[in-house]
């Protein structure tokens, strides 16, 4: 059924199978993409800074958010059971899924029960994580993305590269091309002779999706928050595609990560102030929908929530790493990150790029895949993400912690060159006389290199390190020599 000739929806791209240091090379060489990303991330981080500075108690809000999320994480079983009871009482069918496959199968079985062969979707990170669309496609069910950026990605046979603006790597000319070529194949075509003006392109998306909204019988969403005390689900969005999906179809299935719980309605005041300002740099996102079960005569009458683990309990099990579960998917850490700005999202090899991807991905999925072992190193540890995070995730602490875990993983499998290196370094630092001996060699090297930079070269052990770094040649005079000359028996 996945034969390209019988597909219902555009075939997406495939994630790179290379670890970050290799995957990043073509991205760095793509000057168009770097241009697009620099423009976009610069714009959005300036807006964020302005909107955050307008709030007098911004830091207190961040601390409150940190505390609320920590409370939930440390007592997640209690809050999940409370949320489940409240949702059931409000008429929601609650499902639990250990992993993505289980969640996908539940969504497909609901669609089959309802006799639908297409669903409209609200942008959701969690269904990217489970690759729901491709599973539904394999079951003969078409999943239509309705967020503008997700539509650009879907019609472009592409992959998301940002958690908030998945088509951030595309500029207006590319979007014009994609809409002109592809819209007509999957529904209402783009208007004849459409320009690259964002307003015109947006209008084309409105026209293309309108018929899909009006005929849809089932929608699939994620969820920003679930309030445990009332079982209320909350979705924040901008375009109204979310409201369309949450309001018009008869059946709504929301796939939500188990960490998305807030204890009380009042806790929303903290997050609804922090999230829009951190994410799109607006005082408030255009639309926020909150629903507490089924309302007779208003909106979907058959509501389902799938509570998904998919590795979140692995994250929770690490007391140092679990702060990553505070994440509310605002993307401020991506927008401020010098590595993300240059590399773009695809190089990270999964739907969660940037600093949050580097700390969350390897914890969710484990360290078996070399791609995941590379991610904690995709950072200069500059710490800008720590400063902008609305829930105060200590990114750099967790990055260093994860690097440690990666090294432990590797050495548990087999001895590594790194271990030998550290052992020699240990000997070197043990005594001054050891260091002096070694410095004879470094002085010699300094004379060989002169003032040239050292770049990639086939030195055993150091070659992989040098692949991504240029270093100064070693000095021809060591500090010990300088000290002897200037302090011990020198001029003074």
């Amino acid at each position: 059924m996945t034969d390209t000739t019988t597909r219902r929806t555009p075939e997406p791209g495939t994630w790179t199978d290379k670890p970050f240091p290799l995957a990043v090379k073509p991205a760095l060489a793509n000057t168009q993409q770097r241009d697009n990303l620099r423009h976009a991330t610069t714009t959005i981080r300036e807006k964020r800074a302005v909107r955050a500075s307008e709030v007098p108690n911004w830091e207190e809000l961040r601390t409150a958010a940190e505390h609320i999320k920590d409370r939930v994480g440390r007592h997640l079983d209690t809050y999940l059971v409370q949320a489940e009871e409240a949702m059931k009482a409000a008429g929601i069918t609650v499902h639990w899924a250990r992993n993505g496959d289980e969640a996908n199968r539940i969504v497909a079985s609901i669609a089959t029960q309802k006799g639908v062969d297409e669903v409209v979707k609200i942008k959701s990170m969690v269904t990217q994580e489970t690759e729901l669309n491709e599973y539904l496609e394999s079951q003969g069910i078409a999943a239509w993305e309705t967020d503008l950026a997700e539509l650009i990605v879907q019609l472009g046979h592409d992959l998301p590269s940002h958690i908030l603006v998945p088509a951030i790597h595309r500029n207006r000319d590319e979007v014009q091309h994609i809409f002109t070529e592809e819209m007509g194949r999957y529904g209402t075509p783009a208007p004849e002779g459409i320009s690259n003006n964002p307003a015109e392109l947006t209008n084309a998306a409105r026209g293309h999706l309108r018929e899909k909204f009006l005929r849809a019988k089932m929608a699939v969403s994620g969820g920003n928050f679930i309030v445990a005390e009332t079982g209320t689900l909350v979705i924040v969005e901008s375009e109204g595609n979310g409201r369309m999906c949450l309001t018009l179809p008869e059946t709504l299935v929301s796939v939500v990560g188990i960490e998305k719980i807030l204890p009380t309605i009042e806790d929303l005041e903290v997050f609804l102030k922090l999230l829009p300002r951190s994410s799109t740099g607006e005082r408030m996102n255009p639309y926020t929908s909150m629903w507490t079960g089924v309302t007779p005569g208003d909106g979907p009458q058959d509501l389902h929530v799938i509570l998904l683990d998919n590795g979140r309990t692995n994250v929770l099990a690490d007391p140092q790493g679990r702060a990553a579960l505070r994440c509310i998917r605002c993307s401020a850490c991506l927008n401020i990150c010098p590595v993300y700005e240059r590399a773009g999202g695809h190089a990270y090899g999964n739907p969660y790029p940037g600093p949050i991807g580097a700390i969350l991905g390897p914890q969710l999925r484990g360290l078996e895949d070399p791609k995941d072992r590379a991610l904690p190193f995709a950072s200069s540890l500059c710490g800008a993400c720590n400063e902008v995070c609305p829930v105060k995730i200590p990114f750099t602490d967790i990055l260093v912690h994860m690097r440690h875990k990666v090294v432990e993983y590797k050495t548990s499998k087999h001895p590594t060159g790194e271990q030998a290196l550290m052992k020699s370094a240990g000997w070197l630092m043990e005594r001054g006389s050891h260091l002096a001996t070694a410095q004879v060699a470094s002085k010699a090297a300094g004379r060989v290199f002169g003032t040239r930079w050292i770049g990639p070269m086939p030195i055993p052990l150091a070659s992989r390190w040098l692949r991504a770094r240029d270093v100064d040649a070693p000095p021809t005079e060591t500090f010990r020599m300088w000290w002897k000359k200037n302090r011990e028996g020198g001029a003074k």
Partner: protein, 217 residues
């Protein structure tokens, strides 16, 4: 073992380091809920923030509200309007007198019918000045959710006493209704997107036009 039991067991295993069983004792939250924001003129703040979203704000005294609402609908180009239950008869009379075609949601209109109506008129539950947000809780006067979504223009009446300074006060006013199970929709300007090069475009799937009529006195 069911997925539910499995996941709950995994959580309990993962949080074995947590020894205090009361969440509120274990992690105190340093935050005072429901705080107002200090402001000199809450209505002016609200108007400024709503207009910043490129939405239209019209202020009027209570006496001229019906005519102001009719004018607002004409000004945004509406020829027809859907009016939910609970909108006062005298407003409806003013709309009809001004030449607007008034539709009622009784029996409930289909999505296609709503799509063919130019505008919707509603009241609101509360408005939050600092973020320029209007909140609906879909009781009388506000209609079911589809009414304020599918038509392309939304005229929303906000009473001055419904405007609070900031989100925390807004949540406090909405919380009792939410605890009764009411659905809530927040609107901050019309629909918008920044998905192409992060340049903001007003008007996508939700109403592309929002007029807030602010009634004083």
């Amino acid at each position: 073992m069911s997925a539910r039991e499995d996941i709950l067991n995994r959580i309990r295993e993962a949080t074995r380091d947590v020894t205090e069983s009361d969440p509120e004792v274990d992690v105190p939250i340093e935050w005072v809920y429901g705080q107002p924001l200090a402001t000199e003129d809450v209505l002016a703040d609200f108007v400024e923030k709503v207009e910043d979203y490129k939405a239209v704000v019209t202020r009027c005294p209570a006496g001229s509200l019906p005519e102001t609402v009719a004018k607002a609908l004409h000004d945004c180009g509406a020829g027809s309007v859907v009016v939910p239950d609970g909108i006062p008869d005298e407003w409806v009379a003013a709309l009809e007198a001004s030449g607007l075609t008034v539709r009622r949601d009784d029996p409930p209109l289909s999505s296609a019918e709503l799509n063919s109506i130019d505008a919707v008129l509603t009241t609101c539950a509360v408005a939050m000045a600092d973020s320029g947000t209007v909140a609906l809780d879909h009781v009388e006067g506000q209609g079911r959710r589809a009414l304020s979504l599918v038509p392309d223009r939304h005229v929303c009446v906000v009473r001055a006493d419904q405007v609070v300074s900031d989100v925390p006060e807004g949540i406090a006013r909405l919380a009792p209704g939410m605890r009764e199970g009411r659905a809530v929709t927040w609107l901050s300007g019309g629909s918008a997107t920044s998905d192409i090069e992060l340049s903001r475009v007003e008007g996508v799937h939700g109403p592309r036009h929002l007029t807030v009529v602010l009634v004083e006195g």
